[in-house]
């Protein structure tokens, strides 16, 4: 599903964020990406979502090489990915429901079908009762769950989460990890970047650990 082959990522200015990464994630696998902050976890996720491109080496996502991907093909790659951001990236000019509707509108779904799906996604993360609320009125944990609802509403085959439990207390983070576990059970490929080692103990899954941009 995801394959890194001798990937280097160097930023302008010479900073080397990732060095010689090679690994593979199979379909349906749940993998944790751990490491200290600044180890390159976010950069690695950005390479998969084609937000950044590798300096050398190849990144394959569903068989497509990110480095040579044309920008016109980018949106269609991203529609297969559910992205969960550390800073949520919710839109505060519309309701929670409309936030979840956005990916479906982008794909051009029938509005009635979309509404059903959006409510199902909100239900899945326990926010169905807050669908009319503006995201700004939601707590940190609720915002994170709303971000998850938006990521899964399109039924992506790959879910990428960057510190999904970053600023949450353990009760919330357990809840979110159990949501991820249920996706794992229905065959979604998950890559979860976290520095929260307690999550690893709860859930079974392979761990990739980064240190200063290298896998250890």
């Amino acid at each position: 599903m995801i394959k890194f082959n001798q990937v280097y990522k160097r930023f302008p200015g010479g900073y080397e964020a990732l060095k010689n990464l090679s690994f593979e994630i199979a379909e349906g696998e749940m993998v944790f990406l751990t490491g200290h902050s600044g180890a390159g976890k976010s950069t690695l996720l950005n390479l998969i979502a084609a937000i950044e491109r590798p300096t050398t080496g190849s990144v394959l996502v569903k068989g497509q090489n990110i480095k040579s991907l044309k920008s016109a093909a980018l949106p269609y790659l991203r529609r297969n990915l559910g992205l969960i951001f550390q800073d949520h990236k919710l839109l505060f000019d519309r309701s929670a429901f409309d936030n979840v509707m956005l990916p479906l509108q982008i794909c051009g779904f029938d509005p009635r079908e979309s509404a059903k799906r959006a409510r199902a996604a909100l239900d899945k993360v326990g926010l169905l009762k807050r669908e009319k609320a503006n995201p700004i009125a939601l707590s940190g944990g609720e915002q994170q769950r709303l971000c998850i609802a938006r990521a899964i509403v399109n039924r992506p085959t790959i879910l990428l989460a960057d510190e999904p439990t970053g600023n949450l207390d353990s009760e919330y983070s357990n809840e979110i990890m159990s949501i991820f576990h249920s996706f794992h059970q229905v065959g979604v490929t998950l890559l979860i970047a976290t520095h929260d080692n307690s999550a690893l103990q709860h859930l079974s899954g392979r761990a990739l650990t980064l240190k200063h941009g290298e896998l250890i």
């Binding site: 016109a72 529609r79 990236k89 839109l91 956005l102 982008i106 794909c107 051009g108 779904f109 938006r150």
Partner: protein
């Protein structure tokens, strides 16, 4: 296909909502576009009306022919016959010099002056009503008549119409230049409006790109916005002109009474109105398109 239809419908209603969200700013923008367009279009309307009036007045051109002094009655009869036989002439009217003097006395109120004259200074004259001819053919006829003997002076009364036509041509050119400049202004207005919108929606655009929006999807609402703003601006221009004509026509009423005429300024024809709307819509779309291609590419998610 069905989903594309839904998407476009959604975008249009979304665009209208966005216009309504900032009613004051939207109305100002539309009025500015309307004023910018109404200047050249208003000029065009006025020219068109003057042209119509000129055509009405110059509908029956006449040629006045003045005979040389001392032309004998026999010669007058001969000339009269020749004129009647001319293929380009419909009919003629003879104005003897005595009648001309009497008319002068009556119509100008110069009876004292005329009474003081020791002899009649006026020549005998023919008024020629030509068959329907183009202005060039009229000029040919005039030049032909000039070469006849005993015809001292030949005057084509439609000469003023030519002068007016030349003036109108000049006016039309001025209107075209104005239209060109203000079209540019209209594109610039839309360009800037869209640029501001893109800047304020930067976050939304970034998020949309992250979750798989194509450039077309992101561009669409902005293009529709330019399209609709241009359309409304064109309609505003039409209304501004209609209102101005209404006021001008009211002030024409006393003039019409004085001259017992029924002249009124006409608005754009249906075809011209549709052209105006189409043109302004196109310019709005063009401004939006230019702005979007300039600014959207620079927004990439980080």
């Amino acid at each position: 296909m069905k989903s594309t239809f839904f998407q476009h419908g959604q975008v249009i209603s979304f665009t209208l909502q966005r216009l309504l969200q900032n009613p004051f700013a939207s109305v100002l923008n539309i009025v500015v576009i309307g004023i910018a367009l109404s200047l050249p279009i208003g000029g065009y309307v006025l020219l068109k009306n003057v042209q119509n009036l000129a055509q009405q007045l110059a509908g029956t051109p006449q040629i006045s022919v003045f005979l040389a002094a001392g032309t004998s009655p026999d010669e007058i009869t001969r000339i009269s016959k020749q004129l009647k036989q001319h293929s380009a002439i419909d009919h003629i009217e003879f104005v003897p010099r005595d009648l001309a003097l009497k008319q002068l006395q009556i119509s100008t109120g110069l009876s004292d002056v005329v009474a003081g004259l020791t002899q009649n200074p006026l020549p005998d004259a023919f008024i020629i009503y030509p068959a329907p001819l183009t202005s060039q053919q009229l000029e040919l006829l005039r030049d032909d008549l000039k070469s006849w003997s005993k015809l001292e002076h030949v005057q084509l009364d439609s000469a003023w119409a030519h002068k007016l036509e030349a003036l109108l041509k000049f006016g039309r050119l001025a209107v075209f230049i104005l239209a060109g400049l203000l079209s540019f202004a209209l594109v610039a207005i839309t360009f800037n409006t869209i640029r501001l919108q893109i800047l304020t929606q930067r976050e939304e655009i970034e998020v949309a790109k992250l979750i798989g929006a194509t450039n077309g999807f992101i561009r669409r609402p902005f293009l529709y916005f330019g399209f609709i703003q241009g359309l409304f601006g064109g309609a505003a221009a039409w209304l501004i002109i209609a209102f101005s004509l209404l006021i001008l026509n009211i002030s024409l009423a006393p003039l019409n009474q004085l001259y017992t005429s029924s002249f009124s300024l006409q608005h754009l024809s249906v075809n011209d109105s549709l052209t105006l709307l189409g043109f302004s819509t196109y310019l709005g779309w063009l401004g939006a398109w230019l702005s979007v291609s300039q600014h959207l590419g620079r927004i990439e998610p980080k």
